[in-house]
Symmetry: C2
Subunit: 219 residues, 2 copies
């Protein structure tokens, strides 16, 4: 049966505030990367709220974040999430913090899935979002080709699984090339961060990239 | 008003049979790239047919392709497509030939759009698919950040525009890294081509890539 909304579904958003997004070091200083990661987190939290879910940030360390409750759990990603899932009878969404193109429509498609589990693959075989009708029916196994692992776990447990086809949640921002997608399709704080810091689209030999007017400060 | 199917909508698929996908030269010989590009074309044609559309391949040169009619137009991409659009009163889909993750569902979402135009952005600002309710209401302008250009053209012409959120049509295969997506999410001939030619997923330091058991023959 198709559900109509994701109203009130808890949305777990894992976050690592210290030295994030190291692959962006070529264009952003440490301080800037930390601010940019928080701007992306804000965009995800906003989208989650607009989709009717209740955000719950689970961070490896304390940091200032006025937008929603932050819980500090200084453990590994899998350990932290599986502990939460083990005590979650009802529906739950796990969504990554580096998906600044997330919007209410794409999240809505995930949390209204009629299957036991809905998964959104990330680029390169990762898992960007998982929705579970019953949290404690599943355990996560991130890192590496986690999308394939998660599909296999669902199969082993006899859970019906939907793969949700959305580029907005498929696009995780890790590398300089990914900033192109954010400049083109973004609408929130993290896109504004890039604009404020001098990033713009460039076209060379027909290929689109990003350039930065002011060089990255090295910290 | 939401249309139910894309039944009979012509689907123009531009194709360049000679020396395609040069950015895959690091892992595929010229002969292999030509065979691989045709395998991807087959996957797109099959998906288009399953979505109820009528494929029409428009090629820059003659080549053997038993699956559907091929029309040879040895002109530039924009020139060729705009000539076709100018004599097309009804609905038409333009879809690229390097989208081997295309499936009936994603194409169906495009050709049942209730707007004047529906666009699927490619990675890096390109345009992977455009659906037009009336072909002659529009002109295309590919290359560079064509997604932004196409949105602008729609706006200038007062056409309502939908951006369709699908990673299956967003994922164009140009580079070695893109083969990861095809190995993970593909189901057709081009994925089989990779498997038959010794490609497999590899995980190093948590990142997923592809390796080839037998080295590419250099031609």
């Amino acid at each position: 049966m198709k559900k109509e909304t994701g109203m009130g579904v808890p949305a777990i958003i894992p976050f690592k505030p210290g030295n994030p997004k190291t692959r962006l070091s070529c264009v952003l200083s440490l301080e800037e990367r930390e601010a940019f990661a928080r701007a992306m987190l804000c965009d995800v939290v906003d989208a989650v709220c607009r989709a009717g879910c209740s955000p719950r940030v689970v961070s490896t360390a304390l940091f200032a974040f006025p937008r929603c409750p932050v819980e500090v759990v200084p453990h590994g990603l899998n350990e932290t999430l599986n502990e939460i899932l083990s005590v979650t009878d009802g529906p739950v969404l796990i969504i990554m913090a580096d998906l600044p193109l997330a919007d209410a429509a794409s999240i809505g498609r995930v949390v209204t899935s009629s299957r036991d589990i809905a998964v959104v693959p990330g680029r390169g075989g990762g898992t960007n979002a998982i929705y579970l009708t019953r949290g404690n029916s599943f355990r996560v196994d991130y890192y590496g080709a986690s999308f394939l692992k998660h599909r296999r776990i669902a199969e082993e447990r006899g859970l019906s699984c939907e793969v949700v086809d959305t580029f907005r949640l498929h696009t995780d921002v890790d590398e300089k090339e990914d900033l192109v997608e954010l400049l083109i399709h973004g609408e929130g704080m993290s896109r504004q961060f890039l604009v404020d810091h001098g990033f713009e689209l460039s076209v060379e030999k027909g290929r689109v990239g990003v350039t930065r007017r002011s060089p990255a400060r090295q910290v």
